[in-house]
């Protein structure tokens, strides 16, 4: 009985429509846009800011509490 049901399920699954797999347009222009956008880069001034804050925290450790408060 189980085997019969499973066979019926297989038959039913075969009736599910196969997805239309034809590509109707060229995707290269989109690929080029993607390549041009490139990976997300952190600008140099963000790195400079991080460096400045780190130095400031090293020189004035007590200021760290104030920085955390403002964050």
């Amino acid at each position: 009985m189980k085997e019969q049901n499973e066979e019926k399920i297989r038959e039913l699954l075969k009736t599910m429509r196969s997805a239309d797999s034809e590509l109707n347009r060229d995707l290269w222009p989109e690929m080029l846009r993607r390549l041009d956008s490139g990976p997300v880069r952190v600008p140099w001034y963000d790195w400079a800011l991080v460096a400045l804050v780190s130095i400031w925290c090293l020189l004035f450790p007590n200021a760290l509490l104030g920085l955390i408060y403002h964050l």
Binding site: E6, I9, L12, K14, A19, S21, L23, L27
Partner: protein
């Protein structure tokens, strides 16, 4: 071979040639898994983006098509893992489930329940069953794309059907 070597060195023109040669094949594979044309187009671009970034890891002595299919499968599975559930994942052939008019309500319910039960299957079982039973792709191709042995594909398809039967039974449906 030369083209693949150029691509592996990061040559954009070689990549464009490969893109144009394989975009239809990659798209065709992805749309079978995600079953949505627009999403499949986006994921095709995403696949080639990953391929381009990984050009240095590509071995030019291997098949580019097989590698692309593997990457495409991972991209499609990533998408399905994060996608919201669709209203209806599958459509049915118009002449499917032939039945007398009196049975049409029953048939509609059956279709709805099969669709519902199928979408509840674990991802790896669902993909294996989709490719093997609905798309009727050869087992070796499925195995290569999923990066698993052929025996595992067969086992997943078997488990998918068994689980589907149990789920349908729970929904009160005996096929």
């Amino acid at each position: 071979m030369e083209l693949l070597e150029q691509f592996a060195r990061g040559d954009l023109e070689a990549f464009e040639l490969l893109f144009r040669q394989f975009q239809s094949q990659v798209y065709g594979w992805i749309v079978r898994i995600v079953r949505n044309r627009e999403v499949a187009e986006d994921l095709t671009v995403e696949t080639f983006w990953r391929i381009y970034r990984a050009h240095a890891r590509f071995d030019p002595t291997r098949s580019f098509g097989a590698w692309a299919r593997r990457v495409a499968t991972n991209v499609a599975l990533d998408h399905l893992r994060h996608a919201l559930p669709e209203v209806q994942f599958f459509e049915f052939k118009k002449d499917a489930l032939k039945a007398p008019p009196a049975d049409s309500v029953f048939q509609q319910d059956l279709r709805k329940n099969i669709d519902l039960a199928f979408r509840q299957l674990p991802m790896r079982l669902r993909v294996a069953a989709t490719m093997a039973l609905i798309e009727e792709e050869p087992y070796p191709d499925i195995a290569e794309a999923l990066g698993i042995p052929i025996g595992t594909v067969k086992s997943r398809v078997f488990r998918a059907v068994r689980l589907l039967r149990k789920k349908l039974k729970r929904l009160g449906v005996e096929p």
